[in-house]
């Protein structure tokens, strides 16, 4: 009986957050790798810009995105000119808002874990004949993996819960841009408490399951490398 009011926003939210996380993953890992590895003039300024969406109120981010990507915005006009597309007030707007807001969480976590990788271990690989690409894929990335997974989980959670910026950039169009947080707000406002409750329940269970599984999984992986001698012998 709730099927449409509930399933439509849930599926939309998953689609938006999933796509946002994929974009954030590749851009975030690339940015973290570039920033962790070198020093250049203005690095601190770039660093601050990349982290800004984390501290700004989502409505400020949303307003800024409208300025940039709206009909009269420079990037909005560029997109329209190049491909005749617009990313405001449709579900791409929701992806854009979620991506921008979730980016700093993944970026910060991943950069910290790249910096945490022992330089000597990477250097050892270099003296063994490995080029930079091989060092990255076989050493840096696997060793930074727990941080990467944590970053993905946080980015996904943040993208799933995105409200303010999404409302401003994508609007609140049922069936098209109304994600779960927006649907919960609307349902509560119009007194449909049962719909709101079901949506809240789904969000909570979903988020719990993701975090629980990821924690369990990364713990197992870590244990494999460090398992004690006696335990190894008993296996």
């Amino acid at each position: 009986m709730y099927s449409n009011e509930v399933m439509v926003p849930v599926l939309l939210s998953l689609r938006v957050a999933g796509l946002a996380v994929v974009i954030v993953f590749f851009t975030g890992v690339l940015a973290a790798r570039l920033m962790a590895g070198r020093d250049f003039p203005g690095k601190d300024a770039v660093e601050s810009v990349l982290t800004l969406p984390l501290v700004l109120p989502p409505t400020v981010v949303g307003f800024g995105l409208l300025l940039l990507f709206g009909k009269e915005g420079p990037l909005g006009r560029l997109l329209h000119y190049l491909w005749g597309v617009s990313v405001v007030f449709n579900w791409w707007g929701a992806v854009l808002a979620s991506t921008v807001v979730a980016f700093p969480l993944l970026y910060q976590t991943v950069r910290a874990s790249f910096q945490g990788v022992d330089r000597n271990i990477e250097n050892a690989a270099r003296t063994l004949g490995a080029g930079e690409w091989r060092v990255f894929w076989t050493i840096s990335l696997p060793l930074a993996w727990p941080g990467l997974v944590a970053g993905v989980v946080m980015a996904f959670a943040r993208a799933l819960g995105e409200f303010g910026a999404t409302l401003m950039v994508a609007g609140n169009i049922p069936g098209r841009t109304q994600t779960v947080p927006l649907a919960i707000y609307v349902a509560t406002e119009s007194g449909e408490n049962r719909t709101a409750l079901v949506l809240v329940g789904i969000m909570t269970v979903l988020s719990f399951a993701v975090i629980f599984w990821v924690n369990l999984w990364s713990k197992r992986r870590l244990k494999r490398w460090t398992i004690a001698d006696e335990e190894f012998a008993r296996r």
Partner: protein, 232 residues
């Protein structure tokens, strides 16, 4: 020119300037000196992990670094093995995967003739092949690091304080093993240490490094115990 390393480098460091001239043949050269004397910097210049400001490094006729011809081969092209002080094993790979990391098609020298399993056997770590570095002892980790470095087919092996992470008993055993390993493998070893006994026992020749300068050179130390090291 076989198995010969000729080094003449200048590297400015914050507190002093490292200035070293040396040649190494098919032997063990021990570099003795207190902490902060520039020993590790010297090894890093040889391996390409740091860049000197001036001079040249020539290994078996190949120019690894030359300020005149502006040559500076990256570490992966130098064929210089490096055993780090803390061994720097890859914690997410097994002993066997660690050892095999540097094996490529174009191996040269002894490593080309001797396979992975023979080296594991020689260093007595075959039974640990499936274990991770976090599951083995300090001495076993060191042998894994040695196997890994040798299997990449180096023409020169650098060892940074190779015994410092080991307990006393293991240390006594390992230093004998290191010496016979160099004889078997037939490439120059350079090892740095701050321990006079260790330098005298292991080094066919010993140099003393202080504040970036060679302040003493000792010839072959035939018997261990009283060293014939000339310092000053």
């Amino acid at each position: 020119m076989k198995n010969l390393l000729a080094v003449n480098v200048v590297k400015r460091l914050p507190v002093f300037t490292l200035q070293v001239e040396l040649t190494v043949e098919n032997e063990i050269l021990a570099v003795l000196g207190p902490s902060g004397a520039g020993k590790t910097t010297l090894l890093q210049c040889l391996s390409g992990l740091q860049r000197p400001q001036q001079g040249e490094i020539i290994l078996n006729g190949r120019v690894l670094y030359s300020s005149v011809s502006r040559t500076n081969l990256p570490p992966r092209c130098r064929r210089v093995g490096y055993v780090f002080q803390d061994y720097a094993l890859f914690p997410h790979m097994t002993v066997e995967q660690n050892a095999a990391y540097g094996i490529t098609g174009g191996r040269t020298g002894r490593a080309g003739e001797v396979g992975l399993h023979e080296v594991l056997e020689m260093l007595q770590i075959t039974h640990l092949a499936g274990r991770y570095p976090g599951q083995i002892s300090g001495g076993e980790r060191q042998r894994t690091a040695l196997a890994r470095a040798l299997l990449a087919g180096p023409e020169l092996l650098l060892l940074d304080e190779p015994l410092s992470a080991l307990d006393h008993e293991t240390r006594l055993k390992v230093r004998g093993d290191l010496k016979s390993l160099q004889r078997r493998w037939g490439i120059p070893f350079i090892l740095v240490t701050h321990d006079l006994d260790e330098a005298a026992f292991l080094g066919d020749r010993v140099i003393k490094l202080e504040r970036g300068r060679v302040t003493g050179r000792g010839g072959a130390v035939k018997q261990h115990g009283e060293g014939s090291l000339v310092v000053g």
